[in-house]
Amino acid sequence: MQQTWTLTKRELRAYFDGPSAYVVLSVFLAITGWFFGNALFLHNVASLRSVFNIAPFIFLFFVPALTMAAFAEERRSGTLELLLTFPIRDWQVIAGKFLAVAIFLLIAIGLTGFYALTLAFLGDLDLGATVGGYVGLFLLGTTYASIGIWASSLTRNQVVAFILGFAIIFALYLLDKVTDFLPGSLGVVMQYLGADYHFQNLLRGVIDTRDLLYYVSVMAFSFLMTIYTLGKRPE
């Protein structure tokens, strides 16, 4: 487990040593801040709703950008062979990478806590919806991340990894939005499979195990697929 943490630290350092982490964080805060400020000052709505509405959309681009290098770059530069011949299990390598993205997301989401604090000072913060929203945002982000990491394990090209990750995540995001065109029973299934549907549930301030189970299942599935892909060691 110690090795997993060593790997996580290396990954985080790689993010923060370069400019990418700061660019990504700035853009994320600028966009969410703009929506938050708009709602607050222009429309006099003291709510994080606008932030929670736009964040999943930003994550569509933001998360695959964070994960695209995870394995694709290791494969391209040959370091994957080094990494996978250390005395460590493949799943620990994946866990280390995943943990690094999860911590990065925690930092990004945590920084939007300033919006919540501002609202708390102004007096009117819906605690349930806020906690639900933050939990949902984190789960949504980490679920996207697990998919992005899988996409990254499939190729040696970061751009391909980004597009692939984005495509899968976008499909998952859209699923519950096409139910209008589908017959009833199929629509329900599609709705359950939609990532945003569960996020909207959490936003209501009710943390339901069905929603948690959905995110955990998608993460577990992506994780297993990544183990399988790495296990094949294709060149």
Partner: protein, 329 residues
């Protein structure tokens, strides 16, 4: 240290028969789709041996090494490292192996010291020993001046040293080095070769190369691999002897008015393969001695007895290059 190495060399035949097999490969086959990269290779490497995998590019050297390190699973066959079956105990085996993959992949965005510290942690060097191990390996590999530099700022020779340092940071009994000197200039090649010799003193070393002088300079034993098959296995010297046959002697004399070829074959037990003459009256004979004896002294005495002037005497020992060409052409 050199004495120890000589001892190892002398005892190599003994070890081969009685020593402990550090690496045991039986009928290893590895296929990529329909292509057979490695096709039924078997060999056994004793503790302390320095073995060179030799073969043209794409012969299956890297693939074999990747199976040894547990990076790739074997399609068929068994691989034992230090008595353990490779896919069964991947972690214990990897702890005993120091591996330098082909083309020396490194995390180039890292500073050398941080990189070595990272690898030490990943290779499960106990926390309290890490600093001293890094210090020792830094000294051994001559990395002192570049510890604070980013790896992508280093020269190729230094990057190769960092690659060797990471492979040896946990002091493994087995070193697997895939083309450790490729792409280096001649001076760097000698440096890295010496480094491998020095650091691999008490280790079982497997290295691959397609450069022939490399194996002759560093290895006790050569495995020649061609199209996924093992085509030769032995010490560089044995291979030369068994595959190329007797040494050819080129004997040049000034022998006015005499039939040098007739005289030589009359006095010595040799086979004359050819003769040529120069305008200055020189005769050059190409010959082999019966039983491949060393007849240089006899040839000299003969020239003296016959009152010839000896102007050239050269023994062409066929080298590993000929063996290699013969086997892989």
């Amino acid at each position: 240290m050199g004495a120890y190495r000589d001892l190892l060399r002398c005892s190599a035949p003994f070890l081969r028969n009685h020593g402990y097999a550090m690496i045991e490969v039986r009928d290893l086959t590895k296929t990529y789709g329909t292509e057979r990269a490695v096709d039924g290779i078997s060999f056994s490497i004793r503790q302390g041996e320095v073995v060179g995998f030799l073969g043209p590019n794409g012969a299956g050297k890297s693939t074999t090494m990747r199976v040894l390190t547990g990076y790739l699973p074997a399609t068929e066959g068994t691989v034992l490292v230090d008595g353990m079956v490779v896919p069964e105990e991947p972690l214990a085996i990897r702890e005993r192996i120091g591996y330098l993959p082909e083309s020396t992949p490194l995390y180039r965005d890292m500073v050398t010291y941080d990189y070595l510290a990272f690898v030490a942690a990943m290779r499960r060097v106990p926390v309290e020993e890490r600093t001293s191990r890094i210090t020792r390996i830094t000294h051994a590999c001559g990395l002192g001046t570049v510890l604070g530099k980013r790896i992508d700022a280093l020269s190729k020779g230094f990057r190769q040293r960092v690659g060797l340092a990471q492979a040896m940071i946990h002091d493994p009994p087995i070193l697997i080095l895939d083309e450790p000197t490729s792409g280096l200039d001649p001076n760097q090649i000698v440096e890295i070769r010496d480094l491998i010799k020095e650091l691999g003193e008490k280790k079982t070393v497997v290295l691959s190369t397609h450069i022939l002088p490399e194996v002759q300079a560093s290895c006790d034993r050569v495995l020649i691999i061609h199209q996924g098959k093992l085509v030769a296995d032995g010490s560089p010297r044995d291979l030369q002897a068994s595959f190329v046959g007797d040494a050819r002697i080129r004997y040049t004399v000034l022998a006015p008015g005499a039939d040098a070829a007739a005289v030589v074959s009359q006095h010595l037990d040799v086979q004359i393969l050819g003769q040529s003459f120069t305008e200055g009256g020189e005769t050059t004979l190409t010959l082999t001695a019966a039983g491949n004896r060393d007849i240089r002294a006899d040839l000299f005495s003969l020239a003296v007895d016959q009152n010839w002037t000896l102007t050239g005497l050269q023994v062409d020992t066929a080298n590993l290059e000929d063996v290699f060409r013969q086997l892989t052409a």
